[in-house]
């Protein structure tokens, strides 16, 4: 057959693809499978994300000892899925447990940037919140939130390990709300403060 540029076939492939595709699209729209999947899977993944909070093993000052105590027999943060990893690449939570000095400020920002999204920051103790007892010092920043967006504030000097565990609980509560939202676009106006019921 000479190629006249016309297609005389009853069913050409393009029509088939268009038809099948159209039907599939319609079917997807009608059954709303996407919506099903996103709601259900989102729900499940949100659960996974909030139940498994690996914390960067970063000990700055006093609160680091309470952080360690929270992982040990009496308090046992492992019950709640709080594990400590030494590499920022494998952690979800940056637990700032001490004053941030000018020398350490760019280091901690770098650690924060090395952590993959979604990531969360907890300011533990007065020093990390506002400079604490060292608010007058020439070398201490007024809280870690001058350089890193903070999700949860745990006051205390140092906060007891129970408070830390509760802080993780409140972070989970927040994760239900924000899900895996990137750390840059969160509602930082409404910080969560432990004990501020």
């Amino acid at each position: 057959m000479a190629d006249t540029g016309e297609n005389f076939a009853a069913f050409n492939s393009r029509a088939l693809v268009e038809m099948v595709g159209g039907v599939t699209d319609e079917a997807l729209k009608v059954t709303r499978i996407k919506q099903f999947l996103s709601v259900l899977a989102g729900r499940f993944f949100n659960w996974a994300g909030r139940k498994s909070l690996f914390t960067l093993h970063l000990g700055i000052k006093c609160c680091a000892i309470e952080m360690a105590a929270a992982a040990t027999p009496r308090f046992d943060g492992d019950r709640f899925g709080v594990l400590f990893r030494s590499s920022p690449r494998q952690s979800d939570v940056l637990l700032v447990n001490g004053p941030v000095s000018k020398k350490f400020a760019d280091k901690i920002v770098r650690l924060w940037e090395q952590m993959p999204e979604p990531k969360y920051c907890i300011a533990m103790g007065e020093c990390a919140i506002s400079g604490g007892p060292y608010f007058q010092s020439y070398n201490i920043l007024e809280g870690v939130d001058t350089v890193i967006p903070v999700d949860v504030y745990i006051p205390g000097c140092p906060p007891r390990p129970e408070a830390l565990i509760d802080g993780f609980g409140l972070l989970r509560e927040k994760i239900i709300r924000i899900g895996g939202a990137p750390s840059t676009g969160r509602d930082s106006d409404k910080p969560i403060i432990v004990g501020d019921e």
């Binding site: 093993h57 006093c62 000892i65 105590a69 000095s101 350490f104 020439y138």
Partner: protein
């Protein structure tokens, strides 16, 4: 392989805090090291110039986060020197008990952090478990888990509560059994021995020359301890002997010696508090109101013009010293200059040089065995 510099820190499991060790390695062998401090420099000395003598105690608590009580006591002795305060005997006993309980807690924290350095993860939790016992006791005194703000110029904040003595004796006796448990787990493990023995030699004269003090020197076979050499408190009245290790080489003390000497020191601290609680003037089951003359003598709150105060105190990591210049017009209530001598500030650069010649894997063992604490180092 060519030599290369590795930067360990500031966030690194080996550092026990926030500092940087730069290591030059040739394959697995350490060729050169450099220590870099100052990541949590808070300027405590400057802040204390604007605090009166009672307000300084919390800052001294927070100097070292694992032995708050000893640092606060250390400051208090310097302030008493400055203010010429008298201290009742019962208060001295209570200070001794609190300091030795803190020493137990601190050494447990050290052992707990030393375990993961060598790779033994169980040790960490076991030590922290036992540490909680002593934190509870200290909490009964000071009201807080870590920073007690307990001693006062001229005495202590409040008396030991009723029943404290019994609880303390029970816990300390239990802990003496737990020490044997640790020794069973560690000293009889060949891996523990081959990791520590013959590693990180440091001899006594070299350490004194470099300014190392405390258990690290006693590990090298010399009994030198500020508790008897520059006496304070009532250490001459209670039953104890300094813990000293025999070095096994002319090269001095290795990591194993430093581990052993701290274990022995824990035993001696147990012995001390058990004896002190029996001898305490005023009885162990009485509770005087705070401010009572048995536990507190009101000091003058202004220092005389040009006065200085100095204390040499055996902290858990070595000799901590405070030097306070007081007086001055209108500033008599506050120190004009308060200077802190931290044992680890001088030890860490020395330890960094000690590592040269050993393997990369020995770095945490050597560093951990010297018990670094960066809170006091950076001040």
């Amino acid at each position: 392989m060519a030599q290369m510099w590795i930067t360990m820190g500031p966030q690194h499991p080996m550092t026990h805090g926030l500092w940087t060790l730069r290591v030059k390695v040739d394959g697995e062998t350490v060729v050169d090291t450099e220590a870099e401090l100052g990541y949590i420099h808070r300027g405590v000395e400057k802040i204390c110039e604007a605090r009166d003598f009672t307000q300084i105690t919390p800052y001294c608590d927070r100097l070292c986060y694992v032995s708050a009580m000893t640092w606060a006591n250390s400051y208090i002795y310097a302030a008493e020197d400055l203010l010429e305060a008298e201290v009742p005997a019962r208060a001295e006993y209570i200070r001794l008990i609190s300091a030795e309980l803190q020493r137990l807690a601190s050494h447990l924290m050290w052992l707990g952090a030393f375990g993961p350095d060598i790779g033994n993860l169980t040790l960490m939790t076991w030590c922290m478990r036992d540490r909680e016992m002593f934190l509870d006791l200290l909490q009964e005194l000071g009201g807080s888990r870590m920073h007690y703000n307990y001693p006062r110029v001229g005495g202590v904040k409040r008396d030991i509560p009723i029943g404290f003595a019994d609880r303390m004796v029970a816990k300390v006796k239990l802990f003496e059994k737990r020490i044997e448990e640790y020794e069973m787990m560690l000293d009889e493990s060949t891996i523990w021995l081959v990791r520590l023995q013959g590693v990180g030699y440091a001899n006594a004269e070299e350490m004194v020359e470099a300014g190392v003090s405390g258990p690290n020197i006693r590990a090298a076979g010399v009994n030198y301890d500020a508790r008897w050499a520059h006496p304070y408190s009532v250490y001459d009245e209670v039953d104890w002997e300094p813990a000293v290790e025999k070095p096994t080489s002319v090269k001095g003390a290795d990591c194993y010696d430093r581990y052993r000497v701290r274990i022995e020191e824990m035993r001696q601290s147990c012995r001390m508090v058990l004896d002190a609680i029996e001898q305490i003037p005023g009885g162990k089951n009485t509770n005087y109101a705070s401010g009572d003359e048995m536990i507190y003598t009101k000091p003058p709150n202004r220092a005389p013009e040009g006065a200085t105060g100095f204390s040499n105190y055996e902290c858990t990591r070595g000799a901590s010293q405070f030097y306070i210049k007081g007086g001055g017009e209108g500033r008599g209530k506050m120190p004009y200059r308060l200077s802190i001598r931290s044992p680890m500030f001088i030890t860490i650069p020395y330890v960094a040089k000690t590592m040269i010649g050993y393997k990369v894997a020995d770095i945490p063992a050597i560093m951990g065995s010297f018990d670094p604490c960066i809170g006091e180092t950076d001040r």
